[in-house]
C-alpha cells in the first residue's frame, strides 16, 4: 500500500460525519406537503445525494423524523408516541408551514406548531416548501449534527 496509510481525526468529528451522511428518515406525512416530500425524495431532487435516501416505515429504525403536513389535536398523541419510539440519537424536521406554526389554520382542530408536542431541530417554512428549500433544511440539519456533541449515550440533550 502506498500513499495514505493512516489518517488522524477526532472521535466527535468522525461520529458527526458518519451520522450526518446516514440519516434514516421516517416520513410522518399528513397533508399536501407530502407531494413536495415525494419530489424531494425521488430522482429529480434526490435526498439520497445527501445520504438521507433510506426511508424507514418504522420509527424504531429511523433517526430522522420528518413531520410533513398539518398535525391536529386528534393526531398529536400519535405524533408523540412515534417520537418516543425512536431510538437516540434522533432529530426532527418540521416540514412546511403547518408543522412549523399551524400555517393557515388557527382553530379548534390544529396544533399551532409541532414544537408544542415534540422538540424540533430544523424548521422548513413554505406552503408547501420547494424541494430546494427542503434540501437546504436538510443541509442545515447536517451542519447541526456535525457540530453537535456526539456522546453516544446522548447525555445532556434537552
Amino acid at each position: 500500500m502506498s500513499g495514505l496509510d493512516f489518517l488522524t481525526t477526532r472521535l466527535e468529528t468522525a461520529l458527526g460525519w458518519g451520522r450526518k451522511y446516514s440519516l434514516f428518515h421516517y416520513p410522518f406525512i399528513t397533508a399536501c406537503c407530502g407531494m413536495e416530500y415525494m419530489s424531494a425524495a425521488c430522482a429529480h431532487f434526490d435526498i439520497d445525494r445527501f445520504g438521507a435516501g433510506l426511508t424507514r416505515f418504522s420509527p424504531r429504525q429511523a433517526d430522522l423524523l420528518l413531520v410533513v403536513g398539518t398535525v391536529t389535536h386528534k393526531l398529536a398523541p400519535v405524533l408523540k408516541t412515534v417520537y418516543d419510539q425512536m431510538l437516540e440519537p434522533k432529530w426532527v424536521i418540521a416540514f412546511g408551514a403547518c408543522a412549523v406554526s399551524g400555517g393557515i389554520y388557527q382553530n379548534y382542530a390544529v396544533v399551532q406548531g409541532i414544537d408544542r408536542v415534540i422538540p424540533v431541530d430544523v424548521y422548513i417554512p413554505g406552503c408547501p416548501p420547494r424541494p430546494e428549500t427542503v434540501l437546504d433544511g436538510l443541509m442545515k440539519l447536517q451542519d447541526k449534527i456535525q457540530h453537535q456533541k456526539q456522546d453516544w449515550r446522548w447525555a445532556g440533550k434537552a
Binding site: 389535536h73 386528534k74 398529536a76 398523541p77 408523540k80 388557527q106 382553530n107 379548534y108 382542530a109 396544533v111 399551532q112 406548531g113 414544537d115 408544542r116 408536542v117
Partner: protein, 161 residues
C-alpha cells in the same frame, strides 16, 4: 319527468310537507317541515321521483332566531340525472330531527358529523357518537357560539414564547 311536472307532482303528492319551492342555479330547492322529513324522504327516494342517492347532509348555523339551525339535504336521481335540495329549519333551543339511516346507509356518518359539529340530535339513530372530534371534546365547534380558536388538547402542550 320534466322540471315543472316534477315540482307539480311533489306538490300534489306531498304538498303538506312542503313549505316553499325555490331555485338554485337551475336545481329545485324545497323548504320542508322537519316533522315530515322522514315521510317526505321515503316518498322521494322511490318511484316515481327515484332520488336514490343521498349526496350530502350538512347544517347551517344562522347564529340567532328560532329557526337558527337549518339542515340541508342533497338528493340525486341516477335514473333521471337530476338533483334536489331540501332545507329544514330547527329550533335554537332543541335542534332535533328524525334519522334517515333506515333509508340511506350513508346517512349514518353524515348525521354523526352534523351531530358532532352542530349538536343536532337525530332521533332513532343507531349510534349517535362524535365522528370527527375525539372522546372528551366538549361543545360543538361549528356552532357560532363556540369560542373562537378554542382548542381542547388531548396531551399537554408547551406554550410558545
Amino acid at each position: 319527468m320534466g322540471r315543472e311536472s316534477l315540482i307539480d307532482e311533489i306538490r300534489t303528492k306531498l304538498g303538506d310537507a312542503v313549505e316553499g319551492v325555490s331555485d338554485s342555479f337551475g336545481d329545485p330547492v324545497l323548504t320542508v317541515r322537519p316533522s315530515s322529513l322522514r315521510s317526505l324522504m321515503t316518498a322521494l327516494r322511490d318511484a316515481p321521483f327515484d332520488y336514490a342517492v343521498l349526496l350530502d347532509l350538512t347544517c347551517v348555523d344562522f347564529a340567532a332566531g328560532e329557526g337558527r339551525f337549518e339542515l340541508v339535504y342533497h338528493l340525486y336521481s341516477l335514473s333521471r340525472n337530476v338533483r334536489l335540495r331540501l332545507k329544514a329549519s330547527l329550533s335554537a333551543s332543541d335542534p332535533v330531527a328524525e334519522t334517515l339511516t333506515g333509508l340511506w346507509k350513508n346517512a349514518d356518518w353524515l348525521e354523526r358529523e352534523v351531530f358532532d359539529m352542530f349538536g343536532v340530535r337525530f332521533t332513532g339513530h343507531p349510534d349517535l357518537r362524535r365522528l370527527l372530534t375525539y372522546e372528551g371534546f366538549e361543545g360543538h365547534p361549528l356552532r357560532k357560539s363556540y369560542p373562537w380558536r378554542l382548542a381542547q388538547p388531548r396531551i399537554p402542550m408547551k406554550d410558545k414564547v
